[in-house]
Symmetry: D2
Subunit: 294 residues, 4 copies
């Protein structure tokens, strides 16, 4: 009978923690939740049967999950909880964090007998709601084996390497999302200027070799419609491509296209607004081309 | 009872023309074939029941299909057949050609009462064999309506705009293929240098938001395996991205990422060899990073 | 005693033709001028002692100079003058034109016994006023030898190759101007965000290895001052980098950085305005960085 | 009567320290030198009248200069000397270091009452020999005022901002060198493929608006000649462009062209060899284009 705790009930964390609560009810365990804005934790307890706790209460859990905006907020949580953490605890960080932070955090927690896994997720808010998230994990595979049954929000769990490797893969995945999205935007803007019908063009591309998750699941519903619903903020995607750029540089690698996309995403965040949906980055392409992608 | 003719029995054209022959048998029509190397046309006639003809004999068809390496070879065919073509004929060019050539060829044929459709295909040799190709068509939609029943090799037919629009969409689709493929290669090379297991990383990406046709259907089977089987030559993909660059420039568009990818594809063709498979472009990324993607 | 004619009395052409008039007075020849807006030709005649002529009158010159916005305007002039041109005439085109146009125009004129040199200039309006322009010439070197004494506006004349080579070198030169200018803008914008004093930074760079004509002669006086005086329009620099991109593509070359700069210049022209000074392209960099370069 | 010490008698440091020794002789001070390989320090003492000391002896100086490959070697020196440094000493680091390291080192030294200036230099080995180096300084301007008379190797000294600003400006300067050099290489390679004479083209560019320090002082003498003499290693330029990329990222800036150049420089270092001259980066462009730049 495991006790879990979940820190950070944001757009992703709220439905993820709901799966922990559901499993706790089914298996007789406990699912603690904490959120900076307490009312959100209270709502979670009310809606999903989790238990709202104060921050020190989190330390009573066997497995602590965190899902926060960046590694900086995880650092802050670790600092505030440091004195309370118990040996044998496993900390599973589902933040889209920084590999350097993961290595540092893992080393610091190891001194207290706490294991750390970087375990970012992919699948968006719909995958979180469905409990079908893909989880990419860095750290000790034996620790992962121990907590894998607790990853109730996961549809697929893959161990990708040592501490930090999970964050590195997540950052690269999101850099590829950014690259595929941006490239599709450029291509469609040029076709629009050339007088081609974009609905037909996208239909063809999605049945052809140039298709991507971005072209199939984002551009039609979010860009061509001009809806740009905010489910994943542009500022966060820019942050993730920046982490990918750090991964590239630390590894002594050369990635000219991903570097250019990182710069353009940051330019888009400055131009279009970091709080807009990530697909609104294509509004910068529209400006480049004096033409809407619609 | 339609008579079709097919010019160019290459890796794509051979199985495409087989579908025309099959349909002719079923519907009581005729399927003529011509190829520069005559023995290949003879083989087609033998294997698929088509009729091998000399080049002037092609002009007897109601619908003439061409599927050649570039628009330059189509120009040559048009020049050699010019005197023989009959009013009312429809020329359907399935080459991955140049929009400027399409407009010029359509205008020249119109003077002889011959209609021209640029109708490039996507789906690769497997789609050609299965008869499930996507066809993107530029030109008069009424002409398309007339010949659509004859596109026996198609799984999906989409009219995308005026003369040249089909070639423009095909070029952009292939530029997106090149961009998605190259970006994935860069990301994986960096992860390889960072010590991440690439099989696991690709598995995660293909279940996540960064996935593309390139990551799902090419990198695992062709790059990680080091097989690089030649089904679509790098030199042809470089040519297609170059056509996309021309589309961008003619439209007064701005596409910094697609332009960079075009340059890198050309560099890869010079470095790795234009006759290698298009996925072998990633060998240039391996050189950039002093690391194999495997 | 040579008779020259000058077509196109724009910001560059007006002072260039003044040097022809001055030399004609000194040597006893004639200097004809023509401009679409006749009042400008009248002003030139009045100020510099040239002779305003109607377009057909241009054909009476031994050497015809043209300095027009693009090769398209040169084509128009050639068409209008075609019937009047006399064998033995030399046409010297100082437009920043397109190599393909030069080859076509040279071939067409050769049929009439008229020699053609593509002879674009560098040095800006100040170099034109001072008569110190650099002239880069493509075409027959013997023809160049014959007319070189007539290039009264030149400080330096260099034969660079066959027909079109002058335009190719000019396009590449301007693409380098664009690249050096843009790179300096990016670097200064980053330093500004980092809190570095840009006047001091530019002072250092101009005494160091990163300096260029752009950093030494443009950024201090035009960008840091926020003056952006219009002496060379952004739209024309974007056009020239586009010609360079065509040179690259026609040659089967790979130039990823110049291609990216071409795309960004076009984006800047769409964003900032094609009629602004070329240095105002850096306003797009300022937008990318949410920071002024000052 | 000041006592100076100089750590690191490499290609730059050796002649820089010679100027310190010359000034010490003239003014009655002392010039100490230290080098990891002692024989080089002995040679310096013999040739220039400096005094070779053991590492702890360095702490006796009033002003300590360091000129080492990277900030990591400076960290090592600081660690080894930490116990010996005296309050009131000024440490002037002429390394092309990292701004983050400067801020960290300045803070650590301040705790011991030692002032730190990041003071990288530009001008190459010839500027070092002539004593005409440009020095860009970050840190307390009053400290700079105090030690400025001791910068005997400088032709120009500019205070550019707080701790780290000197390194930031140096990194950006070198990134501009890399960008200007690479762009010129791309342009010349394309012209070479187009059949243009490169000597003539470079002559024209160097008299025109596309010129840069790279085109004027490096490409003619080092690349066209195929000499590539090693005075500044490609690996170090790649390192410096990497620092510039870090400056960009830390500042939240967007610099798509500099990022691409950084990636290409790293690719060139992996491909051509980090120990080659920085101009040999253009050999990667030659490979991209299957054409020598000569």
């Amino acid at each position: 009978m495991t006790t879990t705790a979940f820190l950070g009930l944001g757009a992703m964390g709220f439905p993820m923690a709901a799966h922990l609560a559901r499993q706790a009810r089914a298996a007789g365990g406990r699912a603690l939740v904490w959120n900076r804005t307490q009312s959100r934790a209270e709502a979670h307890a009310r809606e999903h049967g989790s238990e709202r706790v104060d921050l020190p209460g989190v330390a009573g859990a066997d497995v602590i999950f965190s899902c926060l905006p960046t590694s900086a907020e995880v650092d802050e949580m670790l600092a505030r909880l440091a004195g309370d953490l118990r040996p044998g605890t496993v900390w599973v960080d589902c933040t889209s964090g920084h590999p350097q932070a993961a290595r540092r955090q893992a080393a610091a927690l190891a001194e207290r007998g706490v294991a750390f896994l970087d375990a970012p997720v992919s699948g968006g808010t719909s995958g979180a709601a469905a409990g079908t998230l893909t989880v990419m994990v860095g750290g000790d595979p034996q620790v992962l084996a121990r907590v894998q049954p607790d990853l109730a929000f996961a549809g697929k769990v893959v161990h990708v390497g040592e501490a930090g490797a999970g964050f590195a893969v997540k950052a690269v995945n999101n850099a590829l999302l950014a690259a595929n999205l941006w490239a599709a935007g450029e291509g469609l803007a040029a076709l629009a200027r050339a007088g081609v019908d974009l609905g037909a063009a996208l239909d063809v591309i999605n049945a052809s070799s140039g298709r991507s998750n971005a072209s199939e699941n984002l551009i039609g519903s979010r860009v061509l419609t001009r809806a740009f619903p905010v489910t994943f903020q542009l500022g966060l995607l820019a942050k993730d491509t920046g982490i990918a750029a750090d991964v590239v540089r630390e590894a002594g690698a050369s990635a000219p296209v991903l570097m250019q996309v990182e710069a353009l995403m940051r330019a888009a965040a400055h131009t279009v607004g970091a709080g807009e949906d990530h697909t609104a980055a294509l509004r910068l392409i529209e400006q480049f081309n004096d033409k809407e992608i619609k």
